[in-house]
Symmetry: C2
């Protein structure tokens, strides 16, 4: 059987990029998976763990050989990377990314749509973690996970479908929606939880660590995430995060007023509603 994407170039071989490589090779979806990075350390680790079939420090010549390029660098460098490689890819090469916000990245690409050689379709696999780097990468990272594909209004349908096929082939369930809708939803399901987890960890007084248990650990776990990445996410999606944080604050205020009033019934109503939403997700 012919591999669907003979040569795939992955720029950035961290948790996400490395896992994409491993999944492509394990599932025989690509013949060559070129892992591209700026430093030898992570490339060596990616090689050692067989996440990619070859590695390269020469981004420009590597992308020129690729049928599909995945930009899996840090969020703040995705747009610049897309622009930088565009001059070197073969015309019509499919490009996608893994950035946690989509409005800015898609808008920056669309600004120069007419002069581009490559065909970019933004994507976001919901598979991040507080863990980082190629050592945390696994071939099954995307199995059962959701990936959101965010075309602009100008993106040709064939390209959207090709990128959807790619993410489906890695095992994830794919949803297509406009970048703005993605950013609005992820503000609620990912960015706000992160901000809250960080605030909660930060508000914990010095010297009480011994008295934390599973609840505190679960609730604050993602505060261990990379501050640089999360600052970029929160800044990119500021207005939506602010709206979502305001909703959390309103509910917190309602709980506080029920507590102050000693209104057990009202407090139970709020807690029961929260439990129903949480139980519906499971896991």
């Amino acid at each position: 059987m012919k591999a669907p994407w003979p040569t795939v170039a992955i720029i950035g071989v961290g948790l996400i990029g490395g896992s994409i490589g491993a999944a492509l090779l394990t599932r025989k979806l690509a013949r060559r998976v070129i892992g591209i990075g700026r430093t030898k350390t992570s490339l060596r680790e990616a090689s050692r763990r067989k996440l990619v079939s070859e590695t390269s420090l020469d981004i420009m010549s590597s992308v020129s050989e690729a049928d599909l390029v995945i930009v899996a660098t840090s969020l703040s460098t995705i747009s610049a990377t897309l622009e930088a490689i565009d001059a070197f890819v073969r015309p019509g090469t499919l490009l996608t990314d893994v950035g946690s916000t989509k409005v800015r990245i898609v808008a920056e690409w669309e600004r120069h749509r007419n002069v581009h050689r490559g065909c970019f379709v933004g994507a976001h696999p919901l598979a991040g973690s507080h863990l980082q780097g190629p050592s945390a990468a696994t071939a099954d990272l995307f199995i059962g996970r959701t990936t959101v594909v965010t075309p602009s209004r100008a993106t040709p349908t064939a390209n959207v479908e090709a990128v959807c096929d790619f993410w489906s082939a890695l095992g994830s369930t794919v949803f297509v929606m406009p970048p703005r809708q993605h950013d609005r939803i992820l503000a609620c399901t990912s960015h706000t939880p992160h901000a809250i987890a960080a605030a909660l960890a930060s508000a914990t007084p010095h010297g009480v660590q011994q008295f934390t248990a599973g609840g505190w650990r679960d609730t604050t776990r993602i505060a261990s995430g990379d501050p640089d990445l999360w600052a970029d996410i929160l800044l990119d999606n500021g207005p939506e995060v602010a709206k979502s944080l305001a909703r959390v604050a309103t509910i917190t205020e309602k709980m506080l007023s029920a507590i102050k009033a000693g209104d057990r019934r009202r407090l139970i109503t709020i807690l029961t509603h929260a439990k129903e939403i949480r139980d519906a997700v499971g896991g």
Copy 2:
């Protein structure tokens, strides 16, 4: 070897009570462990899982045979249960509990200290979970966990030591502190995280569940806890929870103002501080 506590009565055989029974039997710390409950269903499950050596629906006659009584009922009934059993225990019998708040429970006991037959020393094993019932109980629940023992100023040292020995024998690290300090600390490390997790779950719009990932799931997990128990906890410890929630709100506001100002450096400082606190705890 003589078992340190020949006969132990455990009132309530849920996650905590059942796990205490299992730990006592596994570690041969008691000859008889009488599981006491109001309904046959959980007692039968506790028997089936060998969490206790015998079961009883007759609380009064069972506690009269015990050298040590553990009140592991729901938080709101602990004080009434202690008062109810006191007339039936042998004079000098050690009593302890597992309630998540301590100020009210200890104060209610102390109000009638002079007429009591039993010797009560409050305790709180930090081993709760969103899981409930005897089916979730395990003999190793307390291993490596922290238990806080909260004597009043009038509690005889020998009784404090006996209760500390008990919790140490189950595998937990024991700290002794006044009830007020316990409630202040637990507001930060347990009760506020719960309120926040519930608010976060509750603020999640309908229809976006598919777009939650590990971060949302971790941050909201404890919102699956029992609303009745948590309403009791939050009401018992309202003023401390309010103070702790205010600290979280202040930090959230600081993050928001950094986001609005586009102040990446300031945002990274806040996120880095949170990460340091979280990383120090691990797990």
